[in-house]
Symmetry: C2
Subunit: 440 residues, 2 copies
């Protein structure tokens, strides 16, 4: 959800005549209480450290507009027409050079499926792999958008542990074994190896082959979601797991973070049998990805120095991350966090006894917004964490936002110390709210 | 699927190591044998009467390109950014004036959900309403894309009868009663009331309130899919069922046929409780519809005389329909069909004993393509019908296509008369192939 957005559907619907008629998967879908806050949080006076929007102000829109106009004159009748369910062949060729930067050199255009953003890619892979009750393994804290897709297909999400070097291989193996003992079908491991959202950590290069080995040993598919891989602050990249195994990995990436999200264009590569089903699932889901978006992205890739632009993004996000890290050291030295080496997010641990979810309204009142940690779990965990995004606000806003946040946390600590609680009763240990991918 | 498209995933995948690991819903997903034909059918020498692509050559791409360039300069940073899961507020306002043309005057922007084409709208409504095994009622022959969406959520499609005045109310009521006796949950009626795809018929104005009355009596939701309503050849429109009942109807329409499909922008309006879940489902499915597409459509609507353009489309499609009708009278007088009053399709009944599916490879060899009737049923019916599209080929190509088709059908009849069969053994009475929305 964009920060300039008004919250859709935030009102409580009373006396819904269709109550009781919905699918089981939809009964749990409710407008989040957090949504109501977003209306306030999107006011300009609030510093939002909540959203996961890339900062686009430096895009060459003037030059772009001329090239897009030319594309419309030359190819408007195709750009405005239906396209292939697998995606435009030219763009499928284009994405190969992007993946080469992370070591994937054996992919062919026919291996690629273009999707309506990674969200739809997550939807498609879950749709073709998972029956209700099947298990997907996923790092905790989880990427919220993935939880939404899994929930849609009534998948049981089982968490695998993460440390500062990313997914822990032993935890992966142990969880497979445990789930099989319970009679569960483990369909795939969902992992964000680089600059994890929200945890900020990166899977160490040493662990990658070990995870693949476990996947092969137990015949569990790996879904490698890599939207941030090219946003390493020092230009460093890590070899994709897909570069080490083309049979057991479905790889997905997106233009949303490295270029811009408004086209909703992402892609997947998959082994042939899976890829064939993904194309059919894409048809059932959206018929075909938008040609206008695909042609716009291709126009950009073909005419601009996109490698330089990504490098500029890296520098910009590095500065913002450094600013946030410094401000946290200055104002919240008693909190703890792992400083990420790339990406968009810092996963902040707040002092014992505080509750990030309960505190959020008071933060918004103090004109700073974040995402409470509970949004990244399905089991009510996460109250001791919050996700802070440094991607969209400018450095001075980030500094100011952290300063305001510190004011709120300081006040909470005082209250807790005085009364032994942050003063907000909460009888439900499980977070019933799906906060929605506005936190991406 | 576009006619210029190569067939994705048409190769048979042998020794898929993931065979047996897929979801039940995906096991039935197979690349259709029809797909292989599409590669041939898309050659320029073949007259394709198969696709459902609008004809875009008269679109003012030159003028449009300048306005889109201006939009990019003025609003590029928003057009390229994430948007709201409910859709852009300006576009949600814009669609109200389109719906007014069919009598919907009480809708508000907050009732609207923008989707990635109607295919995704079908996905969303099925996702929130249907558990596996639930029943959806649908006119037979069925719109293929809807069957794909229903199959994704393991819905049981039960057909309701159709005649030249559209859906038969008595059949609707009787089917509800029968299904309830069987203990089935009937979740909604899916109907394309105007210029049905593929049947070409329109629901009479008299029947509309009767169908609503039955829906209310049994508390069955109506999903009214109306992509063609403004394409009545004489400028006639019919009151939407949604205009008569705002509590029991989910209405959907699309820009794909009245303007262009390359943006993949459609919309739904729904009662508040349902609409709220649709927004959450939209987030889980695609996060948000593409801003670039939404801004492009809005730029078009705000700057061009779109009513005149739709009127031009009507005239163009009327001429093409007249041409096809006349050619059928000239070359295939022994077939039967209902001449549509709008839309894109003629549903042709072929002589007794012929099999439209078995005949298709011979038609493509004779350089004409159509969609076999079996694609519009889930139970193997439809061999005695084919869908002919008059939307995309020019009138002279339509005339030539029907002439070629007549050659094929004539030859089949001779074979049948000589041998008592069209010569193609077929032991499977049920069509195992989901032909995919390429036939839209």
């Amino acid at each position: 959800m964009s920060e300039t957005d008004t919250p859709p559907s935030s009102k409580v619907i009373r006396n819904d005549p269709w109550y009781g008629s919905y699918a089981a998967r939809a009964e749990a879908m409710r407008a989040s209480e957090i949504r109501a806050l977003f209306a306030v949080a999107s006011r300009p006076e609030v510093v939002s450290l909540a959203g996961g929007m890339p900062y686009l102000e430096y895009m060459p829109f003037k030059e772009l507009s001329e090239l897009i106009a030319k594309m419309m004159v030359d190819k408007g009748d195709v750009a405005w027409q239906y396209g292939s369910a697998q995606g435009d062949p030219h763009l499928r060729e284009d994405v190969l050079q992007i993946m080469e930067l992370e070591g994937i050199t054996d992919a062919q255009p026919d291996d690629v499926v273009i999707t309506n953003g990674s969200q739809n890619a997550l939807d498609l892979i879950t749709r073709i792999m998972c029956d209700p009750g099947d298990v997907v393994l996923s790092e905790a804290p989880n990427y919220v958008g993935a939880l939404g897709a899994f929930q849609s297909f009534q998948v049981e999400v089982v968490n695998v542990m993460l440390d500062e070097n990313g997914l822990i291989p032993e935890s992966f193996e142990q969880t497979i074994v445990e789930q099989r003992k319970l009679g569960k079908k483990v369909k795939f491991l969902y992992t964000v190896p680089n600059f994890h959202n929200p945890a900020g950590v990166t899977l160490s290069v040493e662990r990658r082959p070990r995870i693949l080995e476990i996947a092969r040993k137990y015949h569990v598919l790996i879904v490698e979601d890599n939207p941030y891989g090219l946003l390493g602050f020092n230009g460093q990249t890590y070899p994709a797991m897909r570069s080490m195994d083309n049979q057991n990995v479905v790889y997905m990436s997106s233009f949303s973070k490295i270029i811009a999200p408004g086209m909703r264009i992402a892609w997947m590569i998959a082994p042939p049998g899976i890829r064939q089903k993904l194309v059919l699932a894409n048809e059932a889901s959206v018929l075909c990805p938008p040609n206008m978006s695909q042609f716009t992205i291709a126009t950009y890739l073909d005419n601009f120095d996109w490698k330089k632009q990504i490098n500029d993004y890296r520098g910009m996000y590095k500065e913002r991350c450094d600013t946030m890290d410094a401000a946290l050291h200055e104002y919240l030295p008693y909190c703890s966090w792992h400083k990420p080496k790339g990406g968009f997010y810092i996963w902040l641990k707040i002092p014992e006894g505080l509750d990030s979810r309960a505190m959020l309204p008071r933060a918004v009142t103090a004109k700073v917004a974040y995402v409470a940690g509970t949004g990244f779990y399905t089991n009510g965990e996460g109250r001791d964490h919050m996700r802070l995004s440094f991607c969209y606000p400018t450095p001075d806003r980030i500094h100011e936002g952290v300063r305001r946040l510190a004011g709120v946390i300081d006040a909470e600590r005082e209250t807790t110390e005085l009364f032994g609680t942050s003063g907000v009763p909460d009888s439900d240990p499980r977070d019933p709210e799906y906060p929605g991918p506005q936190v991406r």
